[in-house]
């Protein structure tokens, strides 16, 4: 097992670090390029005991070709539900009640189930967190990749198999001609995630949504898988959405960031703006509540107190008010829900009444 997986050579292509270290903020090379995926005001509700519960609330996000958009949030923030809504895989009885999901101009929400199925895979596809549940234990990985191919394109068995081997090679699975006949349980977690990625890119989608693709993996494997995704994105000019809770991964891999809290986007913009000129207290707290390799380990962490709000009982004002170091108890935060507003240049926006104060460095704990 060990020996077979070793990629020869001192520094294999699979594990090559991302090209040049990128110094400082840079001009947006894709300014003006039409987004591949454009979510506009998507709102998703589930029926609840006391009326409908809004899980995704007026979310607008877009991602352009060759770009990675990171969507950051905790569990329950609606980040996964947003994209399940977008690709029509929302678990029942959830329903998208308003908004548009434009994939190269076509609104996916207006399509029939059959049309949508055709778009999934070739237009847009998704890689999920758990690499084991995504694979059927009784079929070889080759069969499963071939199945995806043949479901969308008429193709002979042998041709599908040949394509499967190519795809395994593309995701840097060593010895793909042999591995294609392996069953999922014969592969490690990292290798399984690679197989799922191979399935997701089999039909050359224009958008790849990766939902916490490495949470279940060890840190060294995590780095390899994310580098693979970046490589595929650059080669094919795919638009990529990386759903994660790890700001470190965002720093390493994203071009733009959207931070979600309680079903809404609370801050979004180019990564330099969000990281170095943070304009929402929740984002600030996210940075400060987690220990980093370079943080002062003698100091106590600053946790975000309390729990995220229950989506069934959202307050009238800002959903973050009760946990906010800046706005707790403030009149406007209690009474009015802040809308996303410009917080600097380059499309940097934040939904906070006191974003200006925060950016000036006032009110920080």
């Amino acid at each position: 097992m060990t020996a077979r997986n070793v990629i020869p050579g001192p520094f294999p292509a699979a594990a090559r670090p991302r090209e040049e270290a990128r110094p400082g903020p840079r001009p947006d090379p894709r300014a003006g390029v039409e987004p591949t995926l454009d979510l506009r005001g998507v709102t998703t509700r589930f029926p609840g005991e006391d009326g409908p519960i809004t899980i995704v609330d007026d979310v607008s996000l877009s991602v352009r070709p060759g770009e990675t958009l990171a969507v950051v949030g905790e569990s329950g923030s609606g980040k996964t539900m947003t994209f399940l809504s977008a690709i029509g895989l929302l678990p029942p009885p959830g329903k998208v009640v308003s908004g548009q999901v434009l994939l190269d101009g076509t609104d996916l929400l207006t399509l029939s189930t059959e049309e949508l199925r055709r778009h999934r895979g070739s237009g847009i596809s998704m890689v999920f967190q758990d690499p084991l549940t995504g694979l059927n234990p009784v079929f070889t990985i080759g069969d499963q990749i071939a199945e995806v191919l043949r479901a969308h394109k008429p193709m002979s068995r042998s041709e599908a198999r040949r394509r499967a081997v190519e795809l395994l090679d593309r995701v840097h699975i060593p010895d793909p001609t042999r591995r294609v006949d392996d069953f999922p349980h014969q592969l490690s977690g990292g290798m399984r995630q690679r197989v799922l990625i191979a399935m997701a890119i089999a039909l050359e989608p224009r958008v790849l949504i990766a939902d916490e693709p490495t949470t279940a993996l060890d840190v060294t494997v995590q780095a390899q898988v994310l580098e693979l995704l970046a490589e595929l994105r650059d080669e094919a000019g795919m638009a990529m959405v990386l759903i994660t809770h790890d700001l470190g991964l965002v720093a390493r891999h994203a071009d733009r960031v959207a931070v979600m809290y309680a079903g809404r986007v609370v801050e979004r913009g180019p990564i330099e703006a969000v990281f170095d000129d943070t304009a929402h207290p929740y984002t600030v707290s996210l940075f400060e509540s987690v220990p980093h390799l370079d943080s002062d380990s003698a100091a106590d962490l600053r946790p975000i107190e309390g729990q995220p709000p229950n989506p069934a009982f959202l307050p009238a004002g800002c959903a973050f008010e009760a946990r906010c170091f800046l706005g707790r108890g403030r009149e406007d935060c209690l009474s009015r829900r802040p809308a996303l507003g410009a917080a600097g240049s380059g499309g940097h926006e934040a939904a906070c009444h006191h974003a200006a104060e925060l950016r000036k460095g006032e009110g920080r704990p």
Partner: protein, 373 residues
């Protein structure tokens, strides 16, 4: 806390582990069906002082969770010795181990599965005191006190675990473990199942508890940043072995084992300028299997340093199993954990020196000389 007789007051060592080994499989009642032997923990030495936090990091399959369980005698060691609070508990009979649980407790990774779903929270926290005959008579008062200590409102004692969030459940797990006022707490990935904003609450709570009670922690985790935050000393495990052991600051500023360096370099930092100046040290292949242990150094099939040393020349080389040319000692000899002049322990034939090590650390980025680009 009571002092056990026979413990010298000056000795602040709480736990001493020597040559600890735990293997699984290998035996079978039916002939010819013996399972392959898995050497989950393979000859480990370390000690933990009173009131200190000893961190253990490692990836899946490193044996770190097994180590925690063997130390607590939740699993019986195959070989080696465990001295806890001055007494040898390696072969202590089960009945006496149970009494020992007053002094050594555990917090589990899974805040959902580790609480009995049919018991009320108050009962869960009171149960250890009940079985060990503590706090008779004022059990309810003591339960309320502990709940308050871990940040739970005492009136929640009548609720069931499923009514709590993950973070609150982990508080319940900590309350149950701390109810007996133990001297050692083994924490097995206590925050990895929690949301990021909640992790900090639990880590701060653990620090506060340690300051107040003087309990020692054996903190097992895969998250290097979390381990760094909470630990005084840290051991890095790979395939059942400790490959490096040092104080927190030394280990993170100056990793000497190639595996530690690679591990550190794989963790991204949420700071743009620092992160963009870093380089990741790639590892070859995947973590080996504990059933088919590599010859020589367990890390050699994945090691970048061994390759660099072989390329640089001047050492006797040998071919590894996959044909790669590596220094002969790496392929043939299992390196022992040895102390360097700085007091850092490393198990490597060619430990990293100064600049080599620094490239993995967050503060000082250095380019890898062998980069193919």
């Amino acid at each position: 806390m009571t002092m056990h007789p026979g413990t010298p007051a000056a000795d602040d060592t709480l736990l001493q582990v020597r040559g600890l080994t735990k293997t699984f499989g290998g035996r079978s009642l039916l002939p010819g069906k013996a399972k392959p032997v898995v050497r989950a923990v393979d000859g480990i030495d370390f000690h933990i002082r009173r009131g200190e936090t000893f961190g253990v990091v490692g990836e899946t399959g490193s044996g770190k969770s097994t180590l925690g369980r063997v130390v607590l005698r939740l699993l019986d060691p195959t070989d080696g010795q465990i001295l806890f609070d001055g007494q040898d508990i390696t072969t202590m009979p089960r009945s006496r181990v149970r009494a020992l649980r007053r002094d050594m407790q555990m917090v589990f990774q899974d805040p959902y599965g580790s609480l009995d779903p049919r018991m009320k929270v108050g009962q869960i926290i009171a149960e250890p005191m009940r079985v060990h005959g503590l706090a008779r008579g004022n059990l309810a008062a003591r339960t309320a006190e502990i709940m308050r200590q871990v940040g739970l409102a005492p009136h929640m004692a009548d609720r069931y675990p499923h009514e709590f969030s993950g973070g609150q459940r982990q508080r319940i797990g900590i309350a149950r473990a701390m109810a007996l006022d133990p001297k050692l707490l083994v924490l097995d990935e206590p925050v990895s199942a929690l949301d990021v904003s909640i992790q900090a609450q639990i880590l701060n709570l653990l620090r506060d508890i340690q300051r107040q009670s003087g309990v020692a922690y054996l903190f097992i985790a895969h998250d290097l940043a979390v381990v760094r935050h909470i630990s005084d000393r840290i051991a890095v495990m790979y395939l059942g072995r400790v490959v490096e052991m040092a104080t927190r600051d030394k280990l993170y500023a100056n990793p000497r084992h190639p595996y530690t360096a690679a591990l550190l370099s794989a963790v991204p930092i949420p700071n743009l300028s620092k992160e963009r100046a870093r380089r990741r040290i790639p590892l070859h292949g995947e973590i080996g299997s504990a059933t088919a242990m590599p010859s020589g150094c367990r890390f050699h099939p994945r090691c970048f340093k061994a390759r660099l040393v072989a390329q640089r020349g001047g050492v006797e080389t040998a071919a590894a199993k996959d044909g790669t040319v590596l220094p002969a000692p790496c392929v043939r000899t299992d390196p022992a954990l040895a102390q360097d002049s700085e007091g850092q322990m490393v198990a490597c034939h060619f430990p990293l020196e100064g600049a080599e090590a620094a490239q993995a650390t967050p503060a000082a980025p250095v380019r890898t000389s062998g980069d193919p680009a």
